[in-house]
Symmetry: D2
Subunit: 260 residues, 4 copies
């Protein structure tokens, strides 16, 4: 079970709602993934409008909505958007995203921390998309964030756990859930993230840009469940030498004798 700000989820998979071909495909992927927490871009929100292809379809599924501030370039823009979103979407949960740089969409640590401090003070449940920087994550936690969402690799790059060494330290030191965000390109990446001790992963591009997004959503559901089971069971130790699955013995002739 995943607990964020006192709310408990069965699924350890968060989904992004962008890039799908249609609202229906997005809904089917959400269902197939088993997710209970879906992020949606404020800039795409048009609640009540006929062209609304995100908000109402998600609302209809009964999942917890997590509006994000994607597109904001400063703390000021993000805070302003968050306040408006709280009204429009009717939730104080917020995925804080501030990435002023268009090429890699990397988060701005200074502005993110500044906005997180303000938004926590304003009563938001803040989940910040952030650098895989252990001290920065600790400061976001101290600012009151309900989780931290360090990136595995640039958004949409499908490169997997490029920042693994730092993610492991973040996981070791965190007192809030660590949700690996951005760059998860394959179900095996999601399983690995959970095996390393992450609380959850957020996936969007790898599902939406697949040839069959609904089937891929199912693959991620299974992969995340595998990771959770694996965490519970405990991985064996890596070792350099071989370790025979069955005991070796001096003479194979004895084996043959035993069988004949």
């Amino acid at each position: 079970m995943l607990t964020i700000a006192g709310t408990t989820f069965q699924s350890h998979l968060l989904l992004g709602s962008g890039k799908f071909h249609s609202a229906l495909q997005m809904q089917q992927a959400v269902i197939a993934s088993g997710t209970e927490l879906v992020t949606l871009a404020l800039k795409r929100l048009q609640p009540g409008q006929p062209q609304d292809d995100i908000y109402s379809p998600l609302k209809a599924l009964g999942v917890q909505l997590l509006p994000n501030t994607s597109g904001a370039r400063t703390a000021e823009e993000a805070v302003q958007a968050a306040l408006l979103a709280r009204e429009a979407v009717g939730t104080n949960w917020l995925k804080l995203e501030i990435h002023p740089e268009p090429k890699y969409l990397l988060p701005d640590p200074r502005e993110t921390l500044k906005a997180a401090e303000q938004l926590c003070a304003l009563g938001f449940v803040v989940l910040p998309y952030c650098s895989a920087d252990p001290l920065h994550c600790k400061q976001l936690e101290q600012a009151g964030c309900a989780a931290v969402m360090p990136l595995a690799a640039p958004i949409g790059s499908n490169q997997g756990l490029q920042n693994r060494a730092m993610l492991e330290i973040i996981i070791e030191q965190a007192n809030v859930p660590v949700i690996i965000d951005a760059g998860i390109g394959a179900p095996s990446d999601a399983t690995l993230a959970l095996e390393l001790g992450a609380s959850a992963v957020l996936v969007n591009t790898a599902i939406a840009s697949s040839r069959d997004p609904v089937r891929m959503a199912q693959a991620f559901r299974l992969a995340v469940e595998a990771g959770v089971c694996s965490q519970q069971a405990g991985l064996g130790r890596k070792q350099l030498l071989a370790d025979p699955s069955s005991p070796l013995q001096a003479s194979f002739a004895q084996v043959l004798a035993g069988l004949s």
Copy 2:
């Protein structure tokens, strides 16, 4: 579905039966894993004996048995063992293992190919544990092997897909199932192997040496199912640059305006 020598299996996971604490634990792990094909060391076989803790327990589960020649150091030893096994176990399926070197238990390519040629001629369904060497795998296939089982890393090392570059070429060129054997240390390794196009994986140490083997068997079941789904859905392309999940736009101010 996995088809080997005309026999079809729902599960893409093969299990080894060594290293478990008890016959009961082994049985429970087999069930939790969903496997239908279990390998057992001929040298541990004592059918009909009171101390038989492998053969009868597996037989009781109704899975396909795959006796292996672990411990054989030459083609001659392996062939001799195989002939005796066919009588004792009552199957012509055979996992051919020839690893004369005790430290890493790596397969001997010359002896393996020689034994494979003889065993295929003798009517065995041969699945050889072998080097991650594309031309060697092709020669085993040409000798009549029903599958090839290249190693990911030394047996029991839990190191994962160390030979990835060669495994990808083997998979690309094979006309028989490629079953990744040895070294699979975590469920994420299994998912990755399937994503790369492998037909199946064989796991033993990673499950049996886990703190909770039954739970870990379940983790591998889910991981392999995730890999199969992922193969079917098709992975997105890796890329260097970010790819925003939702379209960026010139001015975030418009977003704010839209929400207010």
Copy 3:
């Protein structure tokens, strides 16, 4: 050539002066490495004292000294130390290090940026040890830093370029020299850092903790020179398929005929 704040160096290798067995060994390693820029911990400085085993020995070699604030936990401590150092060491060059966390000695991005802004305003030539976070590095550059020194892996861990994906983005976007600091464990890591486009590397533990520090210093000198040459020559493209070094031809028989 490496140019920092208008000063030009032939060598692209910076050395740390800690962990050596003696002042003499440290001096010999400095000479063997070819470095012209050596960092020394302010907390170990005892200029004019008989037990001074760092400052005077380095001064005697004529290298540019780069005092560092290792041990500082806040911007305030770092700035205070820098002001005292400027007097004691007689240079306004400063390696800014703020790492309040004792286990991994990772830099604090908030305090580092704050101190960098103050120190640049005070006329220091600031080279900050920092996270491998592209936007943070850009902000340090905008604060007036003469270079950025992102970490490859935790200090002294010898793990090599763990943060490679982010380091490549930092290098691409920087307008000041990027000096890879911390975690460089082997000469091959140094060569790779230069091949990726870094301007220089800083090494300490890998040399000082080697069995033969002077020989290892020479190894790093060669490795860094190899990296510089490699940058100049331009690496070939990686590719999946083989590319024969000599053209293949239809018939090897012709070859044989040509030779006979």
Copy 4:
């Protein structure tokens, strides 16, 4: 020093002579690399012919020639070519290459072993290009080969040490020099190969396909020398935690006090 079949070389770098733009460029690269052992394809040999752009230019440099059987698809073809080459080139040294598969040019282990046995019996000094398969390498050694040349990755792919785990075992177990061949794409790969304990590396594509082959040859010379020095000095241990270069202390205030 590198000793092969009783002959000693100062350089641990072997060069291939294919793919250069001109004989002159090839000669300059050979000189810049410091190599004393250069391989040349028998199929390109035209000694005494006016279009000879390989044999005579190399002969003029006084390096040891190592003819190779590139293009041979069977042991028979390779042996036949070797016999002709011994006459034509005037050396019994031979780089044995048998790669019937055109896409990745991977070596055929069965044919290579067979040809090695015959050629060693015929008095050749045999250096076989071979799979990164430890038992296969051991069998080649037992057949009398003067060295083994396992591949790092497909020829010309510039992918670097893809087969690292197996190469480390080969190096550990070999009693003849291990020369890493094929796939070395950058000087850092060469340094790493030496650090892992290889005796030498063979490079061709990475130099010849560089923008500036002569400069790149120099880069590889330095990189290989760095690797040799590094082997001699002994690398420090990798570790997870940080290890401060200078001792941490309870209070930085004491530092400040000491400086003021």
